[in-house]
């Protein structure tokens, strides 16, 4: 009977095989996790379409407002309660981006200054898009 159905991982070195498989799985899972889009890890992302383009990534809300330099001038971004984010000022003429106010679930954009702010910290992956 023993010869027909050998016991699994019964030998002395089988634990090494099992540990090796777990290690491979762990490495694959970690690699997969960090390969996901930033939004799934609760980060905030600011993209600036200067030449060359810049991408700033924040792992969470910042205590102080940050200033970035866009295509035509500086812009200031600040975080509020619960990971909300807004563009406080920008060197654009119409201030549409400033008028967008606080958000925690949709992108802010300053077209003239070439800046996109993705407040992904509090974004829900259950929502595919926001109409506004």
């Amino acid at each position: 009977m023993n010869k027909l159905v050998p016991p699994l991982f019964a030998g002395r070195h089988d634990w090494l095989v099992l540990a090796g498989l777990l290690a491979i799985s762990l490495v694959a899972w970690v690699g997969h996790y960090y390969d996901q889009p930033v939004s799934f890890r609760g980060a905030c992302k600011i993209r600036i379409f200067t030449d060359p383009a810049q991408k700033l990534v924040f792992s969470g809300p910042q205590a102080q407002p940050i200033q970035v330099n866009g295509k035509i001038g500086p812009a200031t971004v600040e975080w509020g309660d619960g990971g909300k984010i807004r563009i406080v000022s920008s060197a654009c003429p119409c201030k549409v981006c400033v008028n967008m106010g606080w958000t925690d679930n949709s992108s802010l954009v300053c077209v003239p200054n070439g800046i996109i702010v993705d407040p992904t910290a509090a974004a829900s992956s259950e929502i595919d898009a926001v109409t506004r």
Binding site: K3, P6, L8, F9, D14, V17, L21, I24, S25, A28, W29, H32, D35, Q36, P37, R47, F49, K84, P93, C94, K95, V96, N99, M100, G101, W102, T103, D104, N105, S106, S107, V109, V111, G114, I116, D118, E126, I127, D128, A129, V130, T131, R132
Partner: protein, 332 residues
């Protein structure tokens, strides 16, 4: 010997399961990309192994429409029409001009791209707001507004009345979404969502078989005003006055105009309209936003349109057809 072979087999099976499950999970994640085009932020989410190429083609479609219909690009077809006052009939802008005329007629003049001269008078293009006198507005309305009066088609093309301006911003986004969706499908992508600054089109089945879920933003506190869930293709568009406005003497004025008075309308904070085509949602949400509530509520009922109104006083009104599409509507 059989013992070793069994163990090797089991090890391969375990590794196979690990990699297959990871690969499967990865295939369920959408490919998401955003770009600034047509003076706004466009985002495309696509589920396909050919998503990257398909999304590229989708953005190319937006860029094409921008070259045609941008009000601000000096060498766009629309800018040439505004500058020279005429456009050859074989221009690629012709279909969009004809569609604009159709929606102008359908909306009884409430969707009117010729309001650009009013918006210019108020300073929307310069960023320096001003309040024109009623005499000035009356002259603009009488001589330079009304798409049926100021844009004529003859054998050679279109002729725009001298001094008039067209801004296709209320329809070009929907038109571009339609073109981008076509490009995505032709590239083999069957499930995708296109978000043109809140004007949305989605179609196809997501890999996890869940419905598409779209939140309607409450402009007052930036929470959710309502939710739209659907597995069928839908076009959703919201018109509001809370992002594009001028401020004069501390008072905010939105960019959508009343076709009779020439003044910015202030009936609603937002109007969200659902349609079966992106261009219809885009143009009609703008038109309905310009209508006073006593006209708008009746107008959308007669056409069985699903619409969610948030009035300027904070009242929420849902059309009869809207009850089938909007859920979790905020209580006032």
């Amino acid at each position: 010997m059989a013992d070793i072979r069994t163990r090797i087999f089991l090890a391969i099976v375990v590794l196979f399961i690990v990699f297959v499950s990871l690969t499967r999970e990865q295939a369920q994640q959408p490919f998401v990309e955003s770009r600034i085009l047509m003076d706004t932020l466009i985002t495309i989410r696509a589920y396909s192994d050919k998503a990257a190429k398909a999304v590229d083609l989708g953005f190319a479609a937006f860029a094409e429409v921008e070259k045609l219909a941008s009000f601000h690009l000096p060498d766009s077809e629309l800018a040439r029409l505004n500058q020279r006052g005429d456009l050859a009939v074989e221009s690629s802008l012709t279909p969009l001009l004809k569609l604009s005329a159709d929606y102008y007629a359908l909306s009884e003049g409430y969707f009117d791209p010729s309001f650009a001269c009013l918006q210019k008078a108020y300073g929307f293009y310069s960023g320096v707001g001003r309040l024109p006198e009623q005499v000035e507005l009356n002259e603009l309305l009488q001589n330079f507004c009304g798409l049926d009066k100021i844009l004529r088609q003859n054998g050679d093309g279109f002729v725009l009345a001298s001094g008039s301006l067209l801004d296709l911003g209320g329809i070009a986004g929907g038109y571009a979404i339609g073109k981008a969706a076509q490009a995505l499908k032709e590239a083999g992508c069957t499930a995708f969502l296109i978000d043109d600054a809140g004007d949305i089109w989605f179609e196809g089945q997501k890999p996890d078989n869940t419905p598409w879920r779209i939140a309607v933003l409450d402009p007052r506190d930036k929470t959710n005003l309502a939710l739209i869930e659907s597995r069928s293709p839908l076009a959703i568009s919201t018109s509001g006055d809370y992002e594009r406005f001028i401020t004069v003497a501390g008072v905010r004025y939105g960019h959508i105009m009343n076709p009779h008075s020439g003044r910015p309308v202030d009936y609603y904070s937002s109007v969200t309209l659902i349609a079966s085509e992106p261009i219809a949602a885009d143009a009609l949400s703008t038109a309905v936003f310009a209508m006073p509530p006593e006209i708008a509520f009746k107008w959308v009922e007669e056409r069985n349109l699903p619409v969610l109104f948030l009035t300027a006083t904070g009242t929420i009104h849902l059309s009869s057809a809207g009850r089938h599409y909007f859920s979790q509507v905020k209580t006032e």
